[in-house]
Amino acid sequence: MTQTFAQVSNQAIYSATIVYALAMVAHVVEWAMGRQVTVETTTTNTATEPAMVGASVASVDSAATTTLATQQTGTHHDDERSDRFGRIGLSLTVLGMLLNLVGVIGRGLAAHRVPWGSMYEFSITGCLAVSAVYLFLVRRYHVRWLGLLVTAFLVTVLGIAVVLLYRPVEPLVPALHSYWLAIHVSAAAVAGGAYTVGALASVLYLVRHRAETKARANPGLPQTGFLWRTPPAESIDRVAYRVHAFAFPLWTFAVMAGAIWAQYAWGRFWGWDPKEVWAFITWVAYAAYLHARATAGWRGRAAAYVALVGYATFLFNFVGINLFGSGLHSYAGV
């Protein structure tokens, strides 16, 4: 039985990788289709003048669509096709997430435990969290414009997991037999998924912000290419903030649950073990991000860089400490 579940899980993860890759290809096509489109006027930040009486100003989400709508003037046909590929990419991502879910559950059933005992298992669970957070945001805030970055991330990480990190199912060492572990790791995984999406959004924000600054300085420049298909920098920033604001309390909770688990397993809440140190550094870095957003002179680009530093510390904890670290947490067989 264990063998069957493990095989199902492996097949599901392979398939998920391939489906995510197809989704990525669809998003590449979606963006490439928009290439020829030329727009004469800047459409950033929809006009605020209530020129027509009775027209309330468009909301953020429709601001994005307005941008697209303006661009449709040139090549209407292309744009429809581009949108179709975007939708295909999204559907494939949903399919990929379902396969990813099967892979994670199958792994858990094969091991008779929560599937997070090794780097491989963390990676597949982390990818599930990333795609779930992304798809939730697509429903809620129409962030399909993040699709290319998100699927590229998923393909990379799942690919690395399958090729380099794979390990057969193994039992957990006794220190990990705790429901606090389940709480701790699932909260950390979802927070990590959100941090990932937040970091991707911040990257996109920085790129788009640069392009907008250039365009303002040089109004004659043609605004072509996929970058101009994303919403204005301001809206991207708003989404990035929301994702981080969701992730931070969850991360706080995950760190706390970890401390309680450490208390049961090792008799102390906090021992400055390398993994704990970096969880703390990540926490402080994201607290700094939230402060930066409220500090004059730090809003916008500087804050986005702080968020990326926070994400780097998060990644280092996952990759660096697991690979090179010692200490109690390095149970995660590579």
Binding site: E49, P50, V53, S56, V60, M256, G267, F269, A288, R299
Partner: protein
């Protein structure tokens, strides 16, 4: 804000070295290794507290500054908040059009009706509402989201509570470790601890007077396949006496399942093997007999240990070497262990005779042999003679020095014992902090204005606008919804 930001950055950076350089409190043996391999850097690192980063002067200084800045931030902000909480929503700016979240339309309903509708809707949305009426114009000012600042204050106060709670817990409590061989017991008194770290305000006569015997220890390993040798479970059977004279009761001590007596908790954190050994000296007398704790070196439980027989005649005897639970021999004669369970237990020791150096007055570790005045027992070729012993075997050292017998094997358990009075305080603090954080991140203070004006064409002109007090919100959607709810539904009203 800028100060807090800088201090947060500093705190994050200051925490890094402690994760890269071994820390005395976390892994003392890694520190000694590091000292050996960096003889020139080590004294400098010692001076700047690199092996005790989290209790070093500079680390403490940063977080104390942060605490001060935090308190210095909370107090004035609480005052400001108290005032703002009582204030009425502010009057509308003269020009609402400059807001990006703005809508306007005309209605044929009379201004009084429109005013009533706007007021009702905004009140129903649990906004604080203030109305200012002049000749031809009335303005509804509404405000929502007062709890955001309260949440923010709660969060920052809770950070203080957590830090104070953690400090109090470690000042009032203690932490210690003890290794107990199965069959032996532990009573909660200072001499029974191998290591004891009291908090500054802890008095050792506060130790709860309980005791227990470790009656048995069980461990199960995965036998076959991938991950063979991983421990699946281990637990110790205890007979616990809560206080002198009490009747002992049984307790199953497991990882993640500590024993708690009178606020003192006992955790099972590790285990190993204690070979039972008898050393006879050159005169045939028993110079040492008992179980000796060997320290595991890796996951296959190859263990290192030292046996000292100071009473041996004519010379003191000492032994040092490794224990292999399931021994196998490499082609070039080196023993190693294939499995952590004792399927083929073998001791591989080197014997020494001479002076153990126990009378120098310098305390000696029981896990190390001072070989400066000892001579190794050698083979005829002059090299130290490896003494390979299976259970029940005896090896005679020759030259009438004595013999050593491997009598049997006992498990031992590594216990961590600690008392953390008030540990519930930081926990409550964290829960409050998360609550405050959620309030402060999810609630968006927003001001909404509705201006209703009687126009000379007989129509009622209505303007609505909203302003978020914090970034990240989306006031335009709010205005869209509000407009949809307030606007007349009949199509001809739309100009």
């Amino acid at each position: 804000m800028r100060t807090a930001l800088i201090l947060l950055f500093l705190l994050a950076i200051a925490a890094i070295p402690g994760s890269l350089i071994p820390q005395q409190r976390v892994d003392p043996s890694a520190v000694s290794l590091w000292r050996q391999s960096h003889p020139r850097l080590a004294p400098f690192f010692d001076r700047i507290g690199m092996f005790h980063v989290y209790s070093s002067v500079w680390f403490s200084a940063i977080y104390l500054l942060l605490m001060m800045s935090l308190v210095g931030c909370i107090i004035p902000r609480t005052r400001v908040y108290a005032k703002a909480f009582r204030a009425r929503p502010p009057a509308a700016p003269r020009n609402l059009r400059r807001f990006s979240a703005y809508a306007t339309w005309t209605s044929s309903l009379p201004p009084a009706v429109e005013l009533q509708r706007a007021r009702e809707l905004l009140t129903r949305q649990r906004r604080r509402v203030e109305i200012v009426e002049t000749d031809d114009t009335s303005v509804v000012s509404a405000e929502k989201g007062y709890l955001r600042e309260a949440g923010n204050l709660l969060f920052h106060c809770s950070v203080v509570v957590v830090l104070v709670g953690v400090a109090a817990t470690s000042l009032l409590g203690f932490k210690g470790t003890s290794a107990v061989v199965a069959g032996d017991g532990f009573s909660n008194t200072l001499p029974q601890y191998d290591q004891f770290t009291p908090g500054a305000w802890f008095k050792s006569n506060d130790l709860a007077p309980f005791s227990f015997a470790v009656t048995a220890f069980h461990v199960a390993y995965k036998r076959k396949g991938e991950g063979a040798g991983i421990p699946l479970n281990f637990d110790a059977d205890l007979a616990v006496t809560d206080h002198p004279g009490a009747r002992p009761h049984a307790y199953d001590l497991r990882v993640n399942h500590p024993l708690t007596v009178d606020g003192t908790s006992v955790f099972l954190v590790g285990h190993g093997y204690a070979p039972s050994i008898t050393v006879r000296d050159g005169t045939g007398n028993v110079a040492f007999s008992g179980a000796v704790i060997f320290l595991p070196q890796d996951s296959s439980l190859v263990s290192f240990g030292v046996i000292k027989a100071p009473d041996a005649q004519p010379a003191q005897l000492g032994f040092e070497g490794y224990f292999f639970p399931t021994a196998a021999i490499t082609p070039n004669g080196q023993p190693y262990s294939t499995f952590p369970a004792p399927n083929n237990p073998v001791l591989s020791l080197i014997g020494y005779h001479g002076n153990l150096g126990l009378n120098t007055g310098i305390p000696q570790s029981v896990y190390a042999l001072d070989k400066s005045r000892l001579t190794a027992v050698t083979s005829p070729d002059g090299r130290p003679r490896p003494l390979l012993l299976k259970v029940g075997q005896t090896i005679t050292l020759g030259d009438h020095m004595g013999s050593i017998t491997f009598d049997g094997l006992k498990p031992w358990v590594q216990l961590q014992i600690s008392q953390e009075p008030g540990k519930i305080i930081p926990l409550i603090g964290v829960l409050l902090a998360i609550t405050g954080l959620l309030l402060s991140l999810l609630i968006r203070p927003r001001r909404t204005w509705v201006r209703i004006r009687q126009h000379h064409d007989g129509k009622t002109h209505i303007e609505i606008a909203a302003l978020d007090r914090v970034a990240g919100g989306d006031p335009r959607t709010h205005i869209d919804r509000l407009a949809a709810a307030l606007r007349p539904t009949t199509p001809e009203e739309h100009p």
